[in-house]
């Protein structure tokens, strides 16, 4: 089989898998995205588009954090620090050096990426050390901003002159649509990583680090990739959202921001790609409801917000820690079992003497070494067979060929 045919086969298989997986959740996600994109144009009463856009930028960062928390299993408490780095880099370039918005935001993203790669040395550590290092990083960035008003603009913050975004007036609506598009793109990228080899390797590392590394998965590099990708996307979200707010205020980047992002991920469900975005929406809705309640109780709203986020998290953890999205999808599936069209008619149940597994003329060579040549096998129902041979005689290769884990060079009919 030529490399070209091989690629075509892989592509067809991937397309088939995508079609099979494109079930109701994907349709739901697409519909939700379309509805969300239309919200600013509906001029709904009481809906502030700038607050929506701000929430959507949080969703971008949370979706990226889903990669670090979910497949990589790293409890990162420092995502807000990367948002702050992206925000203040781009804000300084715009306010002090007069840069246009897009290159400034890219520079902010790059700064966050560099910070992610540098601080990413901690991913080699045990998870509790990852948690404490990222937590200290969040504090370090915040204390730095507070201690150096020359960088952060002090209690006033940095005032940002208005700039155009992608050739458009940077209205809240434009920001909202950009943030929505970025959330969707980030989610697609995270989904691709989850389903591909890197995601599998990350999961293997999470569940059995010792075993995975002994099988040749490179712990440091895989995790560093996830961690620094999260940092870069958080920096991008931070750089854009600070332009939306028109002022870079260090107070917005305290360690609570990092905690809130982690809450969003766990609340929505770290095991799903879209869970973190759902978590951000839930937090936002609760924030909307909590505002009037806090005023009625005469409590300072910020404190109330914090308490609510903390309480929510405790509840989610107490109820198994699965998150909102997996729970909702579980309910959906239970109530309306999906009618899956079978890809091919189900094979007739084989009788007692019919073969259930057969292979003929398998051949596999690695360079000049012929590992398996003309291997044939037929197994009947209820039959027990042993495959024996000395070390290196090709037993494992034969089984991998049968399982399809490795393409055969040649096979009989």
């Amino acid at each position: 089989m030529s490399a070209f045919e091989q690629t075509a086969l892989e592509l067809r298989r991937a397309a088939g898998e995508a079609r099979e997986r494109w079930g109701s959740p994907a349709w739901l996600a697409l519909a939700a995205l379309a509805i969300a994109a239309a919200i600013p144009f509906l001029s709904l009463p009481g809906v502030r588009v700038d607050a929506l856009a701000d929430t959507a930028y949080l969703a971008v960062a949370a979706t990226a954090l889903g990669l670090t928390v979910g497949p990589a299993g790293l409890p990162s408490l420092g995502t807000g620090a990367f948002m702050a780095i992206g925000a203040f880099t781009s804000a300084l370039l715009v306010a002090r050096s007069g840069w246009p918005l897009e290159p400034a935001v890219l520079a902010g993203t790059a700064a966050a990426l560099v910070a992610g790669v540098v601080s990413g040395a901690v991913v080699r550590l045990r998870r509790e050390f990852v948690a404490v290092s990222t937590w200290l990083l969040a504090w370090l960035v915040w204390l730095f901003l507070l201690a150096f008003p020359s960088v952060s603009g002090g209690s006033q913050g940095l005032i940002l002159p208005p700039r155009s975004l992608l050739g458009l007036d940077a209205t809240p609506t434009v920001h909202f649509e950009v943030a929505l598009a970025l959330t969707a793109l980030t989610a697609l990228a995270v989904a691709a990583v989850r389903r591909g080899a890197p995601g599998l390797e990350l999961s293997a590392l999470r569940q059995a680090p010792g075993l995975a590394t002994s099988l040749g998965v490179r712990l440091g590099w895989r995790r560093l990739g996830a961690f620094s990708a999260t940092a870069a996307v958080a920096g991008l979200a931070g750089g854009l959202s600070v332009q939306l707010q028109a002022v870079a205020d260090p107070v917005s980047y305290d360690p609570f921001l990092s905690f809130k992002l982690l809450v969003a991920v766990l609340l929505g469900g770290a095991a799903t790609t879209l869970g973190p975005a759902v978590g951000v929406i839930v937090l936002g809705l609760i924030g909307l409801a909590a505002g009037p309640l806090a005023r009625a109780l005469q409590l300072p709203f910020e404190r109330f917000d914090t308490a609510v986020a903390a309480l929510l998290l405790v509840f989610v953890l107490a109820f198994g820690g699965q998150g909102v999205l997996p729970w909702a999808l579980g309910r959906l599936r239970r109530e309306a079992p999906p009618q899956r069209r079978p890809a091919r008619p189900p094979p007739a149940e084989p009788g007692p003497n019919e073969p259930v597994l057969s292979a003929t003329g398998l051949r596999k060579a690695y360079g000049g070494v012929i590992a398996v040549d003309d291997f044939s096998l037929e197994l009947r129902r209820g039959e027990t067979a042993a495959l024996i041979g000395p070390n290196g005689s090709g037993k494992t290769t034969a089984l991998r060929l049968i399982a399809g884990a490795e393409p055969a060079d040649a096979a009989g009919s």
């Binding site: 928390v69 299993g73 409890p75 408490l77 601080s119 040395a121 901690v122 080699r124 550590l125 045990r126 998870r127 509790e128 050390f129 948690a131 404490v132 290092s133 937590w135 200290l136 990083l137 504090w139 370090l140 204390l143 730095f144 201690a147 150096f148 680090p209 010792g210 590394t213 002994s214 712990l219 609570f256 905690f259 982690l262 809450v263 766990l266 770290a270 409590l299 300072p300 910020e302 404190r303 109330f304 914090t306 308490a307 986020a309 903390a310 309480l311 998290l313 405790v314 953890l317 820690g321």
Partner: protein, 310 residues
């Protein structure tokens, strides 16, 4: 020279408090394998419970306090600290430890930290409070300051540093010499082994969780009248303790205490010492040690801190 003594004594006073926090973090880590993110805030809760009994939520006008009332206040504060500490362990740490879920206890303890800060902030709504002083330090020296070879040192600093060192040595003695201390060390060495020979592991760990908070709280309350306190007080003390504990990679509690002392002196030196015409200044006080310890743990991690590798 004159400034050096002042730097060292006030550094040791701050460092003694950091050190007790650091020792608490490291003892908890060695007993359970968790890093207790709510530790500083639990102590902060105790401080504010003390303040609530002493003076209510109104700003304190007098700087002194009656002794009986103060005793009652600190007993209530310690009780709150102990109960909240034990509750955190039983409710939000132990279940996730048993399940082996790191993200569970990390998120749980951080949630407790923010929850406590929110409660304190909502109850005590002013930006800062003065903690009344049970001990008449203002009568020592000139208005509470002692002149030593040209340096002015707060009389309280000697007391706080001495108290912290005494508490640390006392705890070390407890761990080394008493039956309960031995049992705790057994749990730290080998949890299952300790359980097998009949050590009531869960009970002891819960107690230790509560008591390290109480010890840190005593030192923090002794230091509290020196500065304004607010909802961030406990959090920041906890943060400093965490930095010191991480510097020794959660090693033996006495090392962590020593690291805390060093951190206090370093902070004080960064803020005050001039090298010729060049001075770092107070802005660098908090960020430099934090950045240094982060670099240390990421570039030179101890083998135990690394995830299992080939």
């Amino acid at each position: 020279m004159t400034i050096t003594l002042q730097v060292i004594v006030s550094g040791l006073a701050a460092g003694g408090v950091y050190g007790l926090f650091a020792a608490g973090y490291s003892l908890i880590y060695r007993l359970t394998g968790i890093i207790h993110f709510a530790f500083g805030d639990l102590v902060g809760l105790g401080i504010f419970a003390t303040l609530l009994v002493l003076a209510g939520t109104t700003p304190v006008s007098q700087s002194g306090a009656h002794e009986p009332r103060f005793l009652l206040a600190i007993v209530v504060g310690l009780a709150v600290c102990v109960l909240a500490g034990a509750g955190t362990y039983v409710g939000l740490v132990q279940p996730y430890l048993a399940r082996g879920s790191t993200i569970g206890w990390v998120a749980g303890t951080v949630a407790v930290a923010f929850g406590i800060r929110a409660v304190i902030g909502a109850t005590f709504q002013r930006s800062s409070y003065v903690f009344p002083d049970p001990l008449p330090f203002h009568r020592v020296g000139t208005a509470g300051y002692i002149h030593l070879g040209g340096a002015q040192v707060q009389a309280r600093a000697f007391f706080v540093a001495g108290l912290a060192i005494a508490l640390a040595l006392g705890s070390a003695w407890f761990l080394e010499r008493t039956r309960y201390g031995r049992a705790l060390r057994a749990v730290a060495d080998d949890r299952e082994g300790a359980r097998v020979v009949g050590v009531p592991v869960e009970l002891l760990v819960t107690l230790a969780f509560a008591l390290v908070g109480a010890i840190a709280m005593v030192a923090a309350v002794a230091a509290a009248p020196g500065e304004a306190v607010n909802a961030n007080t406990g959090t920041l003390l906890g943060l400093k303790g965490l930095v010191a504990a991480l510097a020794v990679r959660f090693g033996p509690p006495l090392w962590a205490f020593a690291a805390g002392l060093v951190l206090g002196v370093v902070e004080s030196a960064i803020a005050n010492v001039h090298f010729g015409g060049w001075q770092l200044g107070p802005s660098y006080r908090e960020v430099l040690p934090l950045a240094f310890v982060l670099l240390l743990i990421s570039l030179r991690p101890s083998p135990e801190a690394l995830e299992e590798r080939e």
